[in-house]
């Protein structure tokens, strides 16, 4: 069994990787890159060479290409110690035309060209655009190298950076003594109360392990999952983060910063990450922090996107099974009676009518009953959950009824049922003890999928009721060409679906001992 499962999981992971590759081909190679500028207000205003450079810079931000301007290459030479900063500044002033370059600059330009062309880049030099002997607006000379990212390299980079483990050599700058310290008294709580924590220096996160009052009480920052940086949806934030970060209004409380400053603030000191030179750069940081671990997230009152989707989804799934299973049994028992006919009409309604139509119908009915039709994160009114949950649950009720009825009726003519009946069992016993047990097996297979599926969220329901859930993430990302988010969300969906199918098989074999995945049994 374990061996079989391991093989299934490996197989699933390979499929997931291929899915990610297909999605990467679709969005990076098939789509017209020019599309991202369609709604860009900056792009319209720029002209001449500046517009071209802006294009390439944006394409790098969206992950299409590697783009290196000449000046940036000089900076890398400065970093490697070959040039001084002043010298680099002198060299970066290349002429309006190639013939105008001074000898030294020409030498470096030639080196730049040779270096990047050797690596498969295309080097472009745009001469200055002049109008009336002066440089036209945005017409400054430009020199840069660019290369399309190859699919394999992109895939490899993406997959290897999926999980990152924080280490004490993360920070490149000099931060003094690198290392991890274990303390039983977390300084965030004043240093007196018992609260174990591991604090790092030289790591990305300051707190690698800490405790607080929220479930699951012990938290870690050691291992982070990176599904891909968002560019437009939630600028600069990782997809995983934007799916899991709390939303809503700030929760402020009295907070003592490392410098001893006490203030009403929503900052979460446990989330501090390193940001080079940030303490010296701002007075605000200098007043509060004693080191460069200044970048903190704030505590908010609401749940995360996935949180809202999951709360609504899981209650809906639970309700659906609670209502759908008994109704399905009743329909099968009273086959061709009134209750079966009413149930069938309902099933036809849900299957045939577009989902949009019945969700709006539920919304209109709910509205006339006085239920809130829009979701508000800051509201404490629990009734706002009612309509989204109902809209999600009722269709799955129909689905469960349909299949359970079908499976039970198929079982009703089986020999074991006739045998049980001839043995004198009551109809009730036959249905609940014999037929049901055999009929629910295919339904059991779907339970993990519906539970994990509620993490993904429902597109229409969340849109109709303005729920800040995860369902709209993909459509939003597609509409704003946020390639990082598209890839990240697809990976998340694909992983969930692979896992839920495997879990379904496992659950099915637990429920029905006749189903076995060991190869010897067959």
């Amino acid at each position: 069994m374990t061996k079989y499962l391991l093989r299934r999981i490996l197989h699933g992971l390979v499929s997931v990787i291929i899915v990610v590759a297909i999605v990467m081909v679709l969005i990076y190679s098939c789509l017209d890159r020019q599309l991202i500028f369609a709604q860009d207000p900056v792009y319209v205003q720029l002209g001449n060479n500046q517009k071209t450079v802006y294009q390439y810079r944006k394409w790098e931000d969206f992950g299409y290409i590697d783009y290196v301007p000449y000046a940036e290459w000089l900076q890398t030479l400065v970093a490697s110690g070959e040039l001084t900063a002043e010298r680099a500044a002198e060299l970066s002033a290349f002429g309006q035309k190639a013939s105008n370059d001074s000898e030294e600059v020409a030498e470096y330009v030639a080196r730049f060209t040779a270096y990047y062309e050797g690596q498969g880049y295309a080097v472009t030099r745009l001469d200055a655009k002049l109008s009336k002997k002066k440089v036209a607006p945005g017409g400054q000379q430009q020199l840069f190298a660019y290369k399309d990212k190859p699919l394999m390299g992109r895939l490899w980079n993406y997959l290897t950076s999926l999980v990152s483990v924080d280490n004490i050599h993360y920070v490149q700058e000099d931060v003094g003594q690198r290392g991890l310290t274990f303390t039983l008294h977390d300084p965030v709580y004043g240093g007196d109360t018992f609260a174990p924590a591991i604090i790092g220096n030289g790591t990305l996160h300051k707190y690698l392990l800490y405790t607080d009052h929220h479930f699951p009480f012990v938290h870690q920052n050691l291992v982070t999952i990176n599904l891909g940086k968002s560019y437009t949806v939630n600028s600069g934030v990782d997809v995983f983060q934007s799916m899991n970060a709390p939303q809503g209004s700030y929760v402020t409380r009295v907070l003592t910063y490392p410098t001893g400053l006490t203030e009403n603030s929503a900052d979460d000191l446990h989330s501090a990450t390193y940001s080079a030179g940030s303490r010296d750069a701002s007075l605000v940081n200098r007043d509060r922090f004693t080191d460069d671990y200044t970048s903190v997230v704030t505590i908010k009152s609401g749940l995360s996107k996935v949180g809202y989707s999951f709360v609504i989804g899981i209650i809906a799934v639970f309700l659906a099974y609670l209502i759908g299973v008994p109704l399905g049994i009743v329909m099968a028992r009273k086959k061709d009676k009134t209750i079966d006919k009413i149930g069938t009409v309902y099933i036809v309604f849900i299957i045939a009518v577009p989902s949009l139509a019945y969700i709006f119908l539920f919304k209109a009915i709910g509205y006339s009953m006085g239920l809130p039709t829009t979701f508000n994160m800051d509201s404490v009114d629990w009734r706002m959950y009612a309509l989204p949950i109902i809209s999600l649950a009722l269709p799955s009720v129909a689905n469960l009824m349909k299949w359970l009825r079908r499976y039970m009726i198929d079982q009703m003519n089986a020999d074991y049922v006739k045998f049980a009946r001839s043995g004198g069992l009551t109809e009730r016993e036959i249905f609940s003890k014999h037929i049901l047990k055999n009929a629910v097996i295919p339904l059991v297979h779907g339970i993990p999928a519906s539970v994990l599926g509620s993490l993904v969220g429902a597109i229409i329901t969340e849109r109709v009721y303005v729920v800040p859930g995860a369902g709209n993430l993909l459509t939003k990302a597609i509409n704003t060409y946020d390639n990082g988010v598209i890839v990240g969300v697809t990976l998340f969906y694909a992983l969930l679906s692979v896992v839920s199918i495997i879990l379904g098989d496992v659950l099915m074999s637990l429920v029905d001992p006749r189903i076995s995945f060991t190869e010897k049994g067959r």
Partner: protein, 329 residues
């Protein structure tokens, strides 16, 4: 045997045949006795006999005919200009009663007028022409490809391993992504939509057919047929495909309405086509739903879309039931 009812006895004189003719000796004929005489059986005739035995089917079919007439014939007869009342602000967002009074008592205004003063009734039927045509074309393409690929998929073991892998992978690429990428590469037109819905849509049908084929493939009659040397293609076409007619019709009954629903869904999330299909009408009238007095613009396309899908579904399901030979008794 005792005859209870003497009325059933036949008077010989009624047959207008002479006694010698009636009791003439007939020789035994070996050739004739080999012939099996049964009433001529036509499969499709029995299908329709069973189908029309149910009264409800006649009602639904009539409804279906009316919908088709409104979808395909009505737009040919009327001249619909969505912008004819564009400048007349008092003609916009009217309820049926007000529209009939203001714009004249004609069939155009029985559902009121929309945001640019257009007739909701006309808009709905012009929209449903696009939606239904798309659903039929998509279903035709997907079903044809799906059934062909699915039957090969069910027969060939090597192809099965390959296709199952493809199915698992393609199934995990979000459908919306495929569609939106295609819509962005081409334009958001009718044929792009058809292309987007068919490029991977056949896979699900093929998988379904594959499972059905695997179930029937190894039945005894097929084994016998193979032992007698019937080529695989003939087995697929003559032995298996007829067996699956009811399954295919039932599948079609769920497929056609599902394309209409899917088109409505895509339009709603802003990825639909640019033509004024039913989905796009719903999408554009969404704001009207909660505005008192404007609801007709929103609920009319929703209701018509629902009626169309329900009718298509019920017709298909009942036809599927009727095409199952076990119901022909």
């Amino acid at each position: 045997m005792k005859v209870n009812n003497y009325n059933e006895l036949v008077d010989l004189s009624d047959l207008s045949m002479s006694e010698a003719e009636l009791f003439a000796h007939v020789d035994h004929n070996d050739l004739e006795s080999e012939k099996i005489t049964a009433p001529r059986y036509s499969y499709w005739k029995s299908v329709f006999r069973v189908f029309f035995r149910k009264r409800i089917n006649i009602v639904i079919l009539t409804l279906f005919a009316i919908i088709l007439a409104f979808t395909y014939i009505y737009p040919l007869m009327v001249d619909y200009d969505p912008f004819q009342n564009l400048m007349d602000s008092s003609a916009k967002h009217l309820l049926p009663g007000a529209a009939l009074n203001k714009l004249g008592h004609s069939i155009h205004w029985i559902l009121g007028s929309g945001a640019s003063g257009q007739s909701t009734f006309d808009a709905v039927w012009f929209g449903s022409r696009i939606s239904i045509t798309m659903a039929f074309i998509c279903a035709a393409i997907n079903m044809t490809v799906g059934i062909l690929v699915g039957s090969v998929w069910g027969f060939s073991k090597k192809f099965d391993i390959f296709m199952t892998e493809v199915y698992n992978i393609i199934g995990n690429v979000p459908y919306i992504l495929f569609i939106s990428v295609l819509v962005l590469i081409f334009s958001a037109g009718f044929w792009t939509m058809v292309f987007a819905l068919t490029i991977t849509g056949w896979l699900g049908i093929a998988y379904f057919i594959r499972t059905q084929v695997i179930i029937i493939r190894d039945r005894e009659y097929n084994l016998a047929s193979r032992c007698l040397g019937t080529p695989i293609l003939r087995i697929a076409m003559k032995n298996i495909l007829p067996f699956m007619t009811s399954v295919i019709v039932t599948l079609m009954a769920t497929e056609i309405p599902s394309y209409i629903s899917y088109e409505v869904f895509l339009s709603y999330i802003g990825m639909g086509m640019s033509d004024m299909s039913l989905g796009r009408l719903i999408y554009q009238a969404e704001n009207a739903m909660l505005t008192p007095g404007w609801q007709f613009e929103f609920w009319s396309p929703v209701a018509v879309a629902s009626i169309i899908t329900v009718v298509l579904y019920v017709v298909g399901q009942n036809l599927g039931d009727a095409s199952d030979p076990r119901t022909h008794m």
